[in-house]
């Protein structure tokens, strides 16, 4: 599904935060990437989600090398990957009610017609009640907003889900609920998962395989 080969990436020239890292995720497999804060694991997750162009190295999606990142990536590739970030507040447009937040990827890809059906299907799957869907981000809690962000990541039915510290800001019960929602989706669709985090207990419980950052380079 996804293969990262000797990826080097960073934000400033001559100061890469990721050096020569390789990692692969098989179709349907769930891989946990474990590392301390500041080690560069989020940068690697962004590379895997086509959100950050690496300085060197190869990224293979379904065996084909990726040549374009961000908006230059072909739509079929971009939409094959769903991403959930750590900070729901920073990854949600504060003007959008949760329904529109969840529906945005459908509208952006010209599939607005599917919105009512898809939102009605996803909201209960991530545990959002109808009264919450009309609210804007400032009117819901962090946990509720992260549920909406997960629904947004699933709305295009991605074949790979990248969860970067999805539950780090959440209480134990909401964290368990979100992980269960991801696993239900994977069981229904056979999607693969790359879960990035620092909580060994969580990742080992959640994923088929957990790799430590130090073992990748």
């Amino acid at each position: 599904m996804l293969e990262l080969r000797s990826i080097t990436a960073g934000y400033a020239r001559n100061a890469p935060v990721v050096r020569d890292v390789s990692l692969s995720v098989a179709p349907g497999e769930s891989v946990g990437l474990l590392g301390p804060s500041g080690c560069g694991k989020s940068t690697l997750a962004r590379v895997a989600a086509l959100l950050h162009r690496p300085d060197s190295g190869t990224l293979l999606l379904d065996g084909e090398p990726v040549r374009h990142w961000r908006h230059r990536a072909p739509r079929a590739r971009r939409t094959a990957i769903g991403v959930v970030f750590q900070q729901a507040r920073l990854s949600a447009d504060p003007r959008l009610p949760l329904t529109d937040l969840i529906a945005e990827p459908l509208r952006a890809t010209g599939r607005g017609g599917e919105v009512p059906a898809r939102v009605a299907e996803l909201a209960p799957a991530v545990g959002l009640t109808p009264d919450l869907l009309t609210r804007r981000p400032h009117e819901v809690s962090d946990g509720q907003l992260q549920r909406a962000c997960l629904a947004r990541a699933l709305v295009l039915r991605p074949r790979l889900l990248v969860c970067d510290e999805m539950t780090a800001m959440l209480d134990a019960s909401t964290a368990a609920a979100l992980v269960a929602a991801v696993e239900d989706y994977r069981a229904a669709t056979g999607a693969a998962l790359l879960a990035v985090g620092h909580d060994r207990t969580l990742l080992e419980r959640w994923c088929d395989r957990t790799v430590h950052w130090d073992g990748l380079a």
Partner: protein, 324 residues
Amino acid sequence: MDPMAPVLSVRGLSVRFLLPRGRRVAAVTDARFDVAPGECLALIGESGCGKSVLASALLGLLPGNAQTAGSALLGDLDLLTADERTLARTVRGRLIGLVPQSPAAHLTPVRTVRSQLEETVATLTATRGRAALRAAAEAAAERAAFPADHLDRHPHQLSGGLAQRAATALALVGDAPLLLADEPTTGLDRDLVDRTVDELRRHVDDPRDGRRRALLMITHDLAAAERIADRVAVMYAGRIVELADATVFFGPAGPRHPYSRGLLRALPDRAFTAIPGMPPELGDLPAGCAFAARCDRATDICAGPPPPGTLACHHPHVPEDVRA
């Protein structure tokens, strides 16, 4: 003063927010707890349950549309009725030291740690003169284990752990008898969480300066609470539903309130199953137990108000040894 008398004594504390169109949000309802010197009380609960509102109420930092009831006695002073002048001049920093949620945002980004420490020392203590301030700031940094060679750095040049220590150093300058830590470990990784709470614990019963402080730590991180707390208060929908000894709460007997048990069951090293349903709206709470809708033990009497005391439940779990 009695050395074991509580530093902070909260009775019947309620906070209501008045919103447009007559809506009222019950953010905190009838909170009652004490924190003694040398003791750490962990206030745990999910996001949006009212924990941080309670902390703001204690510091007099609630917005203008909030109404409070009850009392929060810090010595002889009622924090809820104290005027802004008293709060600003004698309470914040001097009687209550605040360890903030995100230290990186709490520190002034354009000034070095040393300059912020010196300013705080000059404001809160009688220390005067450049050399004396410099020495006092260095001593304050050392108390929080902040390395002296990082004092001339700006906040963005610090790692999360060092920023946390800098913020803790600032909280300790005024030598306050009560430390209030609001989610001090959010977003830190596990090693850093352990280190941060261990350091906080050290200030509760500090052998080096012989001071016994009280610590009220607000958190949703159960592992951090288990590591540091003497007692645990569980908050749900604005109400403290269970107040228990930490060794019992995290031990084999476990907590007694169904919500507390559900929270522990959700941990990845336990059952890893979420509590079904979602927490209720604080603007639209039921008259009875707010957890009843999600609770597998709920019966008709749960529609009535929960019993007062340290366990707000009509059907609490009974420990095995009591039943036998």
